[in-house]
Symmetry: C2
Subunit: 286 residues, 2 copies
Amino acid sequence: MTATIINGREIAKELRNTIKGEIQNLTKKYHKDILVVTVVIGEDPSSEMYLKLRSSACEEVGIKSKILRYPRDISEPTILRQIHDLNNDSMVHGIFIQYPVPPHLSPTTLMKTVAPHKDVEGFHPENLGRTMIGDEKLIPCTPLSVLTILKHAQIELQGKDVVIVNHSNVVGKPLVALLLNRNATVCVTHVFTGDLKGHTRKADILITGAGIQNLITKDHIKEKAVVIDIGIIPTKDGVRGDVDFNSVKEKASIITPVPGGVGPVTIANALSNMVITYKMCMEKDV
Amino acid sequence: MTATIINGREIAKELRNTIKGEIQNLTKKYHKDILVVTVVIGEDPSSEMYLKLRSSACEEVGIKSKILRYPRDISEPTILRQIHDLNNDSMVHGIFIQYPVPPHLSPTTLMKTVAPHKDVEGFHPENLGRTMIGDEKLIPCTPLSVLTILKHAQIELQGKDVVIVNHSNVVGKPLVALLLNRNATVCVTHVFTGDLKGHTRKADILITGAGIQNLITKDHIKEKAVVIDIGIIPTKDGVRGDVDFNSVKEKASIITPVPGGVGPVTIANALSNMVITYKMCMEKDV
């Protein structure tokens, strides 16, 4: 039996429709457009795709978006000052920093500098800490999208064995918190894990974001597992994920494809977060 | 072969000696005593032991400590105002809230109200978020003590299979972050986990804090596992932990007893955190 294939584009479209309606109500209430700014430092070809996708998603739902480009060799004090200015600009309701940034800049310092109430990505320590303790407000978009997809597929989390392949600050670590907040048993694996298969085979739900094509084969999963692929690997045949899709879909019960799975939902969830930061800005203004 | 039994009292004593020296230098440098305040709301007999232990630990290393007691039925706005006053009081360098608090008060709200730079417990979302992303500054004392003990026993974490039995905001969740920051493979189990033994038996390092006496038996652990018991269960024979100590110590390689294991180290680490908040206060003052 073949797995149910999640249609991320469809889920994203529904989300955008809901968000669009909410934005119409909000901008009518506050008489102010939503403006979101993306800070791009230097040039990174892999970023351009996201920038385009995000801009057109913003446009579709009625959010104004602006890209601010800074030179690759900008000094840390200068870029931090720019971010402070955006924090203080009452016309700006959300700030993205486009990662990766040049190596002389510390992502952690940039994440700490964006004001928590304009932090669309949910990367500020205060927002990550709130995510950790279940006081969830601005959740990083990729982990949030995993929740969106699981909810859409009506997967109960409490008591389930979930295995994550990724322990980054912006994906794996917030995700483990979100899953623990919902009482799943969670195991986090990564590049330092000796016996990956020994762990993944136990998973009722496997969430993988290693960035290694075909890392997860049929052999890695349990019969009828739910498999969520958050890997994004550019190849000459287009974007691919971590999962050997064709073999795994024969064994899994539910699976997300790449492209068309988690990706579009992540972009839609970025829009939801923009609505949240807009509301936070407006409540602060009042 | 019997396991090596960790002597938490000995580790705590060494820690206190180091801290005492550091405090002498610091108070000489800044010409100001360290004052730490504990906010106690209502009466909870189980809290009194901690209050006493902490006060005498403070005295030993040269930290002034004060207990502020408030009535059980104090309103939330009133207690939050009290905490704000302590945040603004330049004579106070560290604030503890004694948990549990009466049910009409939200622990999360209290944790968010203590200023991050006076947050000796490391429970403010900003401090928890920093712990999550490896920008570690004020780490909650119990998880920190697990690290202290593992370091003392010279246990390498990278690539190890660690299983935690606890998924609370103040123990399990910060602990998983700390272990992931050190590249361990981490599995978090709890009361909703179906097959506890199936998980714990895989652990190179088992850290348990369920608060259930004899939950962890010889059957639950792998041969030569490291077993850290953070359970604190008051019984008529004194304080006990989660681990069936006498049987487990015959199979483990390293084990912490209760009492005399993690507990004393936790109190010593609270003192280390007080030194950190003092330094943060002084640097803000300058």
